[in-house]
């Protein structure tokens, strides 16, 4: 099978799993997203962390996975939120376990454990809070945010390819991601705002139109920031793809890099206006 078909098929399967997980069932959502969290975090640690920190890496993965599972259990099944203190155990064992390290070499790398938790595990762990409408599981809002990110990516790709690769077209961040142009950046915003407007009229985004438009701009701009930040991180460590778990598409973290910054920022905006 040629690379093109592998890539297309993997893309469709990935998309189908994502959409079903978001709209079908809370348990399916929890299973899919805990996998996304743990796999993204593993890739982040594989990129950054020295192999010596095996125990600390494991504790980081447990802390991240446990936070998500306990927030999900609270939102979906009414478990006491105080159980979230359980996730503190692996987190506090990280400094304690360092005393068992055979030497102090690369000790500063330990910070990557914490960085992964705040950059990857925190946003994903907060996601179940957005998945309930009263006592009904309702992922249409979250799905809308993902649709907006995908539209932004498609817009950036189309407009960027059509206008941004001509000689003289200004690049967005030539040091970090040589292909990205300002044409693509503005194209992404336009597509994302159009998508947000469409989703508003579809009633998937149940907010006043003006807020939907602002949301489109926020999602697109911070999506690009998230994408560039991950590229910067990979370049710093001399890595091209974060992993290879989705055939033809690279790693899990590569697929969620925009969302990790854009979706929380969108939710902060909506929360400031008391809309969620």
């Amino acid at each position: 099978m040629s690379n093109f078909w592998v890539r297309t098929l993997a893309g469709i399967v990935f998309l189908a799993i994502m959409v079903f997980a978001l709209i079908w069932d809370r348990t399916l959502f929890a299973c899919v997203f805990v996998t996304v969290l743990v796999q993204s975090l593993r890739e982040f640690y594989d990129i950054s962390l020295n192999k010596r920190f095996r125990v600390q890496r494991f504790l980081g993965l447990v802390a991240g996975g446990a936070s998500f599972i306990l927030v999900s259990a609270h939102c979906f099944y009414g478990w006491d939120l105080r159980l979230l203190t359980l996730a503190l155990i692996p987190l506090l064992l990280i400094p304690a376990s360092c005393l068992l390290l055979p030497s102090r070499e690369h000790f500063g790398d330990l910070a990557y454990i914490y960085a992964g938790l705040l950059y990857i595990a925190l946003p994903i762990s907060l996601s179940p809070l957005l998945m309930m409408d009263g006592i009904v599981f309702d992922g249409w809002f979250m799905l809308s945010l993902f649709v907006m990110i995908w539209c932004s990516d498609v817009g950036a790709y189309c407009i960027g390819t059509a206008f941004g690769q001509r000689p003289g077209a200004r690049k967005l961040a030539p040091d970090i991601s040589p292909k990205k142009s300002w044409w693509g950046f503005w194209g992404g915003i336009v597509f994302c705002v159009v998508a947000a407007t469409g989703l508003h009229f579809l009633t998937w985004l149940p907010f006043p139109l003006v807020h939907c438009i602002v949301l489109g701009v926020i999602v697109s701009v911070f999506g690009v920031c998230g994408d560039l930040f991950e590229s910067l991180w990979k370049r710093h460590f001399g890595v091209k793809d974060s992993g290879a778990c989705i055939p033809g598409h690279g790693g899990m973290l590569d697929r969620f890099d925009s969302s990790l910054v854009a979706i929380p920022m969108a939710c902060v905006y909506l929360s400031l206006f008391n809309l969620i």
Copy 2:
């Protein structure tokens, strides 16, 4: 004034401020502890972070301070906990702001921003949750935990000085903290358990005696872990004191290194047994 008197006086003033903040008034508590948080975090960043990350460092301090203030406002004045999403803004601006960095040099240092937030800001930000008994401000439980840590330190110092410095006495972690001996470690535990038992009979620790004894062991052991972890961190970056903000006593982080691990661990234990 000789160094001894400066040190003694500063110690007494520091202790008085701490005790008053814990038992007197919620606003005083919030002011003192937000200072402790921000100052400890500043020292942590001064130790670890390259000077180029001025903006990101500032965002980290704002995120840490804001989390504490918003949790306090929730616990003490009934503000909506959803306002905590505000603390996400500086946190999410950290990756976004990195795109403005003039070069990618030392880019991995950025992880220290996140590490400080989870290691220092998270435990201190959770502390207001322990400071209310219904609608009454009640810091006696937290004060008891600090008293236990101080007793453990005194015990470790006395027993360690008396028995641990003799030739042949085994050292706890000669690479990290050459003076600490196993004698001091066990002495700290004994003093801490005795303190916990005393506090139980004083009714400051309103839990069954057996839990108070276990609490004494946990506080002492994880206090030592926290202390050694901070020493390890300082040694890695070639620093002796974390700062000099308390005359004769070094930095703020040096004063709270044990508490940052021991107090959350004690609370996780109590929470597991439904005691808090």
